[in-house]
């Protein structure tokens, strides 16, 4: 149990820190209007005074004061630059209202030990800000793609109409293009035709081999494992080059079968890894018990072992599916125009004819991958629950 104390802080402290934030935001507004220095000073004085007034007069009516901040900022923002300004104002009003009382009431010390020095508290929050910024870096590209895919124009950037939240600035034309353009539809169809077959191949071979590998006595286990994992380690360009040479020697280059085989090989390491991980927690005495009661090996496998390792198998299959569905280097070399998959079409689009349809496709793919991620996570939890590892 950690002991936390929160006691109200003097007005000067809250007003001072808020003034610093005001200076920070003032800098940006100042530079965009022409003078950074005036922005800093104006922001600091304005926000400091506002925070000082709010804390002095409304310390006990926190809710009212926060709403006041919120409404005031929206109004100012809207008057200055219309709807976008209003949205910015809403965000800033919420931020400043929240932070003023968070500081003044001393709640900011709740998550640090009571003995922490002010410097440590400052570092604590600075560190979180840095980590937050990195997480934003991770997620922003995806967040930027989504709204841009609704762009009414053929641009890769936000138009003034979009920033004004003008409905005319948004449209579904790129989605319509994706669903009506024969190139994209052919690519989608190819992807849908290749990925499941490749997944099926790698899952059926991979699961068998994973069961074999998890037996107690396997000769050359390390070597076999290294060979089976190697498609994941060898750079894709080398796999692609090798497959291109070899498959053209045996007449598989440019055929559907060639692409499926190549993708199956690339998906195998993922199946092996996930299924062996599931088998680590598998109680082998269950198999023996089943055999003891007269079940033949096939029945034992399908009735006892398979249901228990199914979550691992499915998440391995999802990995294999994503690998094939997302793969572009190998298919570029091994495939021919007849096997043009969705990533291939996107690759061409990015290199040659820049079209925002790519962004629409990207958004659809992000949604699909979120769905898959959720599935895998749920399966993992279920698997842990079934094996009794879960702590909850």
């Amino acid at each position: 149990m950690t002991l936390t104390v929160s006691q109200p802080k003097p007005v000067s402290f809250a007003a001072g820190v808020v003034a610093a934030f005001g200076a920070f935001f003032g800098l940006f507004i100042g530079t965009s209007q022409g003078s950074g220095l005036i922005g800093i000073l104006g922001g600091a004085i304005l926000m400091g005074a506002l925070a000082f007034a709010a804390v002095t007069f409304l310390r006990d009516q926190e809710k009212l004061a926060k709403w006041g901040f919120f409404v005031l900022f929206i109004a100012v923002g809207y008057l200055l630059s219309g709807i976008p300004g209003g949205v910015m104002g809403a965000l800033m009003g919420y931020f400043f209202g929240h932070i003023t009382f968070w500081l003044a009431s001393g709640r900011y010390r709740m998550s640090v030990p009571p003995y922490a020095t002010p410097g440590q508290v400052l570092w604590h929050y600075a560190f979180r800000t840095i980590a937050g910024a990195i997480l934003v870096f991770l997620i922003t590209p995806i967040l930027v793609v989504m709204p841009l895919s609704f762009n009414a124009e053929n641009f890769f950037t936000f138009t003034p109409e979009m920033l004004n939240f003008d409905p005319a600035g948004y449209s579904l034309r790129h989605y319509r293009d994706f669903f009506t353009n024969s190139d994209w539809q052919q690519a989608l169809w190819n992807s849908v035709r290749i990925a499941p077959v490749a997944t099926l191949l790698s899952v059926s071979f991979g699961t068998l081999a994973a069961i074999g590998l998890s037996q107690p006595h396997v000769p050359f286990r390390q070597t076999i494992m290294a060979i089976l994992i190697s498609p994941m380690i060898v750079p894709l360009i080398i796999s692609a080059a090798g497959m291109y040479f070899f498959y053209s020697r045996i007449g598989l280059q440019g055929t559907y079968l060639g692409v499926v085989l190549a993708h199956a090989a690339l998906g195998i390491p993922f199946v092996i890894i996930t299924v062996t991980a599931t088998l680590v927690g598998f109680d082998r005495s269950l198999v023996r018990a089943a055999a003891n009661m007269g079940a033949n090996p096939l029945t034992t496998f399908f009735r006892i072992q398979m249901p228990l390792i199914l979550p691992g198998v499915i998440s391995g299959a999802l990995f294999a599916f994503i690998t094939s569905f997302d793969e572009v280097v190998v298919v570029l070399f091994v495939g021919s125009a007849g096997q043009k998959t969705l990533p291939w079409q996107m690759f061409i689009g990015l290199r040659e004819q820049i079209s925002p349809t790519i962004l629409a496709v990207a958004t659809i793919l992000v949604v699909v991958s979120i769905a898959l991620l959720t599935t895998v996570e749920m399966l993992r939890r279920r698997s842990e629950r079934m094996r009794g590892i879960s702590q909850s």
Binding site: F127, L208, L213, Q215, A226, F347
Partner: protein, 569 residues
């Protein structure tokens, strides 16, 4: 506990009961076999069963993945195109010494003429020209232009032969002359058939429908060889009847060359009179030496350095591609560095290493704080933040790359924001794409989850009490972190770094899209050689070097982390 040992105690009891006072015999299993053997048998069966389960996948991976890699490694040293296309020439060249500074003898040019004639009919000579052009610029055009002019000398001879006897231009006459009578010598045709198979790489099926007689094959060896080439190609590739077709021009050249040496007075086969007539008229026929013929086609054919290049690259295996891949070159005088202005691969390897290091470094810098935060937050909020890390991990690579293209380009989101804020004027927007910066930023973003996940799993195992203990013993924040926490997190950094490095060193797609010309990796060059310049050997050699680097890193990863410990998601 293994089930087979369950029988042990029972046997022990029975044998102890039976053999009271005797020396105890070997322990027996339930079926009366010695227990040791029975156990061994069970173990062997278990091993076999495990292998039988693994075998299908192992064979599958070996066939679809390992064999292609092996094939690529083989391509990087394979060099049989020279000896396959010019088999007799390379043999004849063996005795020639390039240091004399003289062109090879007329005999070499004779062999070269007939080799090249067959190659140009089979359209293989341009491939050879392209191959040799990698080593010596200009050879490609020599082969191409000379290939077109090979007929001329034969046509000249035919005109003069037809003056002596009209029948020399007739296919059936030639067929009768070449077939002769008496014991046939099919081995000449068989040998030429093998040469053509090797040269074209196609499987030739069917019957040639021609065999020279032993007598004519010994009398006119060069003519018979040229005619056999013609017969094999006409019958097996064109699918025509040899007897009805006019022979190639090289056959006339062969005839003149043979008649200069041969004594036809004793020959009695078909059309012997025509042969004798030509032999008699030989002094009146205007003859050209093949050396001067080639010289007239392209004066570089008498340049000994061209022949030295052919000689240097005539062995079936060569280190030439590997030497090219490290900016060296196999010359007739040994291994040398390439000229300064042609050295690019060492620079590309260095750049690949440098950029991979930069990407690895920025991944450590960005990944460490996030992993720390994830490991030290209560599990509920950590799980929520984990989604933010996993979402990009699960998003299509091309989606993320296209997102970076949208963000970084000059009319892109980041530049727009900077201009709006007034930090950058509209006139000089930052160039953040199609250079090293773009590649490093985009790839850091793409590979960051691969750093965070191993770091996180290591940091989770470090008890937070250690830090508190260090602080309560008087360490400052920094000392406590640097001396206590950081050393324990090094395995995570190591695992993540190797993973990121391995992945980045062979990256292709992202540098291709956002790298421009200065931000590309060695893998882009490999792709270029395979799909555009078609110098497959060099591409394979570059790939082999890259593969070796990755395998060393993989081995290190295996030693440090263990491949069994690779976790996903």
């Amino acid at each position: 506990m293994s089930d087979t040992t369950q029988t042990g105690p029972i046997d022990m009891g029975s044998s102890a009961g039976n053999g009271k006072g005797d020396k105890p015999g070997p322990m027996l299993a339930a079926d009366g076999r010695p227990l040791k053997r029975s156990l061994n048998r069970a173990l062997r069966r278990q091993k076999l069963r495990a292998l039988a389960l693994i075998a299908p996948l192992l064979i599958f991976v070996l066939l679809t993945f390992i064999a292609p890699i092996a094939d690529m490694l083989f391509r990087s040293v394979e060099n049989d195109i020279v000896s396959n296309t010019l088999p007799s020439t390379t043999e004849a060249l063996e005795g020639w010494d390039h240091t004399t500074g003289e062109a090879p003898s007329e005999a070499v040019f004779e062999d070269f003429y007939f080799d090249l004639f067959l190659a140009s009919e089979a359209k293989e000579h341009t491939k050879l020209g392209t191959r040799l052009n990698y080593e010596k610029t200009g050879v490609s055009s020599m082969f191409r232009s000379t290939g077109r002019g090979l007929d001329d000398i034969g046509d000249d001879y035919l005109d003069q032969l037809e003056v002596i006897d009209k029948r020399w231009g007739d296919g059936a006459f030639w067929y009768a002359l070449m077939s002769g009578t008496g014991t046939p010598a099919p081995e000449v045709v068989k040998a030429r058939r093998k040469v053509l198979t090797r040269m074209s790489g196609d499987v030739l099926t069917g019957d040639v429908g021609f065999a020279p007689s032993n007598a004519i094959a010994t009398l006119l060896p060069t003519t018979v060889r040229a005619y056999s080439d013609f017969a094999v190609y006409t019958a097996l590739v064109d699918g025509k009847d040899v007897a009805k077709r006019d022979p190639w021009e090289s056959v006339y050249v062969g005839l003149i060359l043979d008649l200069n040496k041969a004594d036809v007075s004793g020959y009695t086969g078909p059309e012997a009179d025509a042969l004798k007539a030509v032999k008699a008229a030989l002094p009146e026929i205007k003859q050209v030496s093949l050396q001067s013929f080639f010289q007239s086609e392209d004066k570089d054919w008498v340049d000994p350095s061209v022949w030295a290049t052919i000689q240097t690259y005539s062995p079936k295996y060569t280190s030439g591609y590997f030497l090219n891949a490290i900016d060296m070159q196999l010359t007739p005088d040994g291994i040398q560095m390439r000229p300064e202005n042609e050295q690019i691969y060492i620079m590309l390897f260095k750049r690949t290493l440098f950029m991979s290091m930069m990407i690895m470094g920025s991944c450590i810098l960005l990944g460490y704080p996030v992993a720390w935060l994830l490991a030290n937050l209560p599990s509920k909020s950590a799980n929520l933040l984990m989604i933010l890390v996993l979402l990009p991990f699960w998003t299509s690579l091309l989606v993320r790359t296209s997102a970076w293209k949208v963000m970084l380009q000059q009319q892109g989101v980041i530049n727009d924001v900077l201009v709006w804020l007034g930090l950058v004027s509209d006139g000089d927007r930052l160039v953040m794409i199609n250079n090293q910066f773009g590649t490093i930023v985009a790839m850091t973003h793409i590979l960051l989850p691969f750093m965070i996940l191993p770091l996180y799993s290591v940091m989770q195992t470090i008890p937070p009490t250690y830090l508190r203990a260090a602080k309560s013993l008087g360490a400052t924040n920094w000392t406590a972190f640097w001396r206590v926490y950081f050393p324990q997190s090094i395995p995570g950094i190591g695992a993540g770094s190797i993973l990121v490095f391995i992945l980045s060193i062979g990256y292709y797609i992202t540098p291709e899209i956002v790298g421009g010309t200065t931000g590309t990796f060695i893998s882009n060059r490999i792709a270029y050689h395979i799909s555009s310049s078609l110098n497959w050997g060099l591409g394979a050699a570059l790939g082999a070097i890259l593969l070796a680097c990755v395998l060393i890193l993989y081995w290190a990863y295996d030693r440090i982390v263990g491949i069994d410990n690779v976790k996903l998601g």
